[in-house]
Amino acid sequence: MRRSDLGEFEEVVLLAVAALSPRAYAAVIADELEKETNRAVSTGAVHAALQRLEDKGYLNSAFGEATPERGGRRKRIFTITAFGVRTLTETRTIRNNLWDRILPEVLSKIGLDLA
């Protein structure tokens, strides 16, 4: 299998794009991640990740509308590409497979329970 070049933060951002689609842009993604992780997420970081993802072909982008809060500047709306979806699915499958392979007794011993 091809080595997936998807970093952890990138993966989260990519997921966020998918989750917020079709209204995913940096500001809301950052906000969303802040809410989810309870840690400050800088817009710059999100932007950098989005750019990288776009360069790698996981995302597409297009200009959206402008709003007064943005000082009249347009949003850049990101949408996930088919390739992005496939990569996400692959990563998820790998994770799931690994999860599945953990024996139930081990699971309960380390305090992890699927229930």
């Binding site: 940096a26 906000d31 710059g44 932007h47 809060e69 943005r70 500047r73 347009r74």
Partner: protein, 879 residues
């Protein structure tokens, strides 16, 4: 970039932070990132309040500093730099394509510019040569010359020389002055070797001269050669001239009044690029031992600024201003009168040539002013050639408006268009310089042989010269590129693309093109007219009635021969009727002036004089008004003078009263006026006839003069030569006809004619090339019009008239302007240059007008007739 529209209820982050954030963001993502920042800020204000939001905002801005946000995109937008390599390559390509497309105009331009530049290359070579003056002395950074500024409330002259006392003062040890070399220019121009008088240039120098300056010795030692009185060093060339193959070391030369001087060293010939260049160096000790200590130490010397020079070599830690201060302190003591003050300055050795204009310089010195003056005429010619280029470039530019329009629409800024055209003209200029180099090689030798005054110049091109040429090309290219470039810059892209310029540009009553043509023809006419006037003056001068006979008068240079012996020997020849003696040839060049006094008056009178014998007046056919000639008695003659009418009128109101008056000569001799002569031109026509007298002084005789009454001149000369051999001490027989001597004294007219004639040829060629270019261009633009007219029935004649009319008017205007202004200018110049000059005649005006205008008209008609006689179908069938 979108504009900010801030409604009152949307909070905005602090502006300074915004600015920083904008700076951090790369332009291509700025909009989105800033938008996101603002949106989140607004959200945070709502959620946490202004203060907290601001705090977060700072964190956000700091968080922007990461590669993917900071990094600018390198490919777009395109760089707008002035020197963008890609664009330069593009300009070069466009330029070469454009030049090769218009082969005719390019050739025209390059040829014209090359002609115009040829003189400038000469000028540049000269400047380069001058800037290499005295660059071969190893310690040149430490050498200074003391110069003097005199303030006398009139002329305030500055001297290259310095009172000998000041030099002496510095010589007497000033700490930090490593070496002082005094130079004195009082060495006579002639020396005697084995009783033969030989001209020799030289001056007196201190012994340290040879170690301060880099003039290596071939024989003798630098330390001792000039240490003792009556010793000298001469150059190799001078040694060969005087001694032939003999070893010059230890030979004695007799120099009046210093006696015998021994050659104690032979120096390599001094290079041309030194203002110290000379042939002989005599030890300063010679001067000191001959004149005694008073020569250097006398207080009175402080008021004599002439002929004495001082060169200093300073140590590293002594600044020249210290010495200046010291000298000027002394000067305050010495020059106490407020109406006569002098101050001293230390002139850096490398600032001597080229340097400021100084009186009484070492001879081979050239000042900025002189260099500038030399450059004026070449510059005018070059200006003419460049204006051709500029006007043609603007004419042709109409065809390139579309190209410029497209460039502008594609985002070219003014500076790019500017760069493009400057580059194009630079390419042309460099081509022209290359071609011009060949012209330069041709005229170089010719120019240097024009006068002997240019002997000191060495114009063999060096690396520096070539660098100078290229610099000239680039400089001229840049300057002449400015005009066409500005022309393009000011046209808006829309207008350029529409081609509106194309329709309006050709017409117009007053255009640059017309102005250029007119000015160039004014210049050409001016030169032609001036050359003709000079020729006329020359003819006038040599055919002038000087008031004496000059036909067939032969002047034999006596050299060292005894006048009486010459008289005896030459008297035996059959073709020599009467021999007379004189100190100068009559009517050629200058005669010496002096001040005489009348017994009764204390005022002295300016007069000029010549020494003659009793036969001279008869030989020259001079007429007596009153009185008589010198007699056969030499003792009596010495107390007599014969004066001209002007002098007689000066001596007494009615001229006849002057006869018998006593005049006191500068050497205190009292002489009596015995004869008064009709006025005649004793000197050249440059100065008016003034007070003049003949004296009888056999010791001053330089020439024997007689009528050569022989039909076979060759034979006569051979006989004279054999007669000469018996008299002379090995010198060559030298004789010249008076007519030739007079002619030679006006040879400067010939030199001017040659120089101006050459410039005239250049100016005319350039003007005609420019005219040709413009005519061809105009006709090209009107070819359809002409063809249609022809089809409609216009005759060839009327078409030629239609096309030529405009240019004929321009030529006429040029004539109207040129003739009167050159007339006035030359009238002014001639009255300065020559007192007795010919009035400028109508003949010269007509000839120069006819010559220049016919060339101009030939140029115009050759093209217009071709256009008028062409088959209209050829030009119309493609429509």
């Amino acid at each position: 970039m979108a504009t900010k529209q801030t409604t009152p209820n949307t909070p905005t982050p602090p502006r300074w932070l915004n600015r920083i954030a904008m700076r951090i963001c790369a332009p291509h993502i700025r909009e989105t990132v800033m938008g996101d920042l603002h949106e989140r800020y607004a959200l945070r204000v709502k959620r946490f309040g202004l203060k907290k939001a601001n705090y977060f905002y700072i964190r956000e801005v700091l968080g922007l500093v990461r590669p993917s946000i900071v990094t600018r995109q390198n490919s777009s937008p395109p760089s707008l730099a002035f020197f963008n390599l890609d664009m330069l390559a593009n300009y070069f390509k466009t330029a070469t394509r454009n030049l090769s497309k218009n082969t005719f105009f390019t050739t025209l331009n390059v040829f014209g510019l090359a002609l115009g530049m040829s003189l400038n290359l000469l000028f540049v070579a000269m400047i380069v040569f001058m800037y290499q003056f005295d660059n071969f002395h190893p310690n040149k950074e430490h050498i200074y010359r003391v110069i003097t500024h005199v303030r006398d409330r009139h002329e305030n002259p500055s001297f290259a020389s310095v009172p000998i006392s000041a030099a002496q003062l510095l010589k007497a040890n000033f700490t930090g002055v490593e070496e002082v070399v005094r130079i004195h220019q009082s060495l006579p121009r002639d020396v005697r070797y084995a009783d033969i008088k030989i001209p020799l240039n030289g001056y007196f120098v201190d012994a340290a001269y040879l170690s301060m300056f880099n003039f290596p010795l071939l024989q003798g030692s630098a330390a001792t050669s000039l240490a003792n009185p009556n010793t000298m060093v001469i150059t190799e060339a001078a040694a060969t001239r005087i001694f032939g193959k003999k070893n010059p070391m230890g030979e004695l030369l007799s120099i009046e009044p210093y006696g015998e001087v021994m050659v104690t060293g032979v120096a390599k010939n001094m290079p041309k690029n030194s203002h110290l260049r000379t042939e002989a160096l005599v030890s300063f000790a010679t001067l000191a031992s001959h004149h005694g200590a008073s020569f250097t130490d006398d207080e009175k010397n402080w008021n004599n600024f002439y002929n004495s020079y001082a060169y200093l070599q300073l140590s590293d830690n002594l600044s020249p201003s210290t010495i200046e201060a010291f000298l000027n302190g002394i000067a305050k003591e010495k020059y106490t009168k407020p109406e006569f003050q002098a101050s001293f300055e230390l002139q850096r050795f490398d600032k001597i040539v080229p340097g400021p204009e100084l009186d009484n310089d070492m001879g081979n010195e050239w000042s900025y002013q002189e260099i500038l003056l030399m450059g004026v005429l070449p510059m005018i010619i070059l200006l003419a050639a460049c204006s051709n280029y500029v006007s043609l470039a603007i004419s042709l530019s109409l065809k390139r408006m579309k190209e410029i329009g497209v460039r502008k629409v594609m985002g070219a800024r003014k500076r790019h268009i500017f760069m493009q055209f400057v580059m194009e003209s630079t390419i042309i200029m460099l081509l022209a310089v290359t071609l011009s180099y060949f012209f330069f090689e041709i005229i170089r030798g010719e120019t240097l042989s024009l006068t002997t005054e240019l002997d000191w110049i060495d114009l063999n091109p060096t690396l520096g010269t070539f660098a100078g040429f290229v610099t000239l090309g680039i400089l001229v290219g840049f300057i002449s590129g400015i005009v066409p470039a500005l022309h393009f810059i000011k046209t808006g892209p829309v207008l350029a693309l529409k081609g509106r310029e194309l329709q309006t540009g050709t017409g117009g009553r007053f255009s640059l093109r017309k102005l250029v043509i007119t000015l160039q023809f004014i210049l050409s006419l001016g030169f032609t007219f001036a050359v003709l006037i000079m020729g006329q003056q020359y003819q006038y001068s040599i055919n002038y009635d000087f008031g004496f006979d000059q036909e067939k008068i032969l002047n034999v240079d006596l050299q060292q021969a005894d006048p009486q012996l010459v008289k005896n020997e030459f008297g035996k020849l059959s073709f020599v009727p009467l021999i007379s003696m004189s100190s100068h040839p009559l009517g050629a060049g200058k005669v010496p002036g002096l001040h005489v006094k009348q017994v009764a008056h204390s005022d002295s009178i300016d007069a000029r004089t010549m020494a003659i014998d009793e036969n001279f007046i008869t030989n020259m056919g001079l007429h007596f008004v009153l009185g008589r000639n010198f007699s056969k008695n030499a003792g009596e003659n010495a107390r007599w003078i014969i004066i001209n009418k002007v002098f007689a009128k000066k001596l007494s109101p009615d001229a006849s009263g002057a006869l018998g008056q006593v005049v006191i000569l500068p050497d205190k001799r009292e002489v009596r006026v015995v004869g008064i002569l009709e006025d005649f031109h004793y000197a050249s026509l440059q100065s008016p006839i003034g007070n003049f007298f003949f004296e009888y002084a056999p010791e001053k005789f330089n020439y024997a003069n007689f009528h050569l009454q022989s039909t076979n001149e060759r034979h006569a000369f051979l006989e004279m030569q054999s007669a000469w051999k018996s008299i002379a001490k090995g010198e060559k027989f030298k004789a010249e006809f008076l007519e030739d001597q007079i002619r030679d004294s006006y040879s400067f007219y010939n030199q001017i004619m040659k120089l101006w004639g050459f410039m005239g040829v250049l100016a005319i060629t350039i003007a005609c090339l420019g005219l040709l270019g413009t005519v061809v261009f105009t006709i090209k633009n009107r070819v359809k019009e002409v063809s249609i007219r022809k089809v409609m029935g216009a005759s060839s004649g009327s078409l030629v008239y239609l096309l030529s009319k405009e240019f004929i008017v321009l030529l006429a205007i040029a004539g109207i302007f040129a003739i009167p202004s050159v007339y006035l200018l030359m009238e002014l110049m001639l009255s300065e240059a020559q007192y007795y000059h010919a009035p400028i005649g109508a003949f010269e005006i007509v000839i120069s007008l006819a010559f220049v205008l016919s060339l101009g008209l030939t140029t115009v008609f050759s093209q217009t007739m071709k256009a008028a006689n062409s088959n209209p179908v050829d030009n119309l069938r493609l429509e």
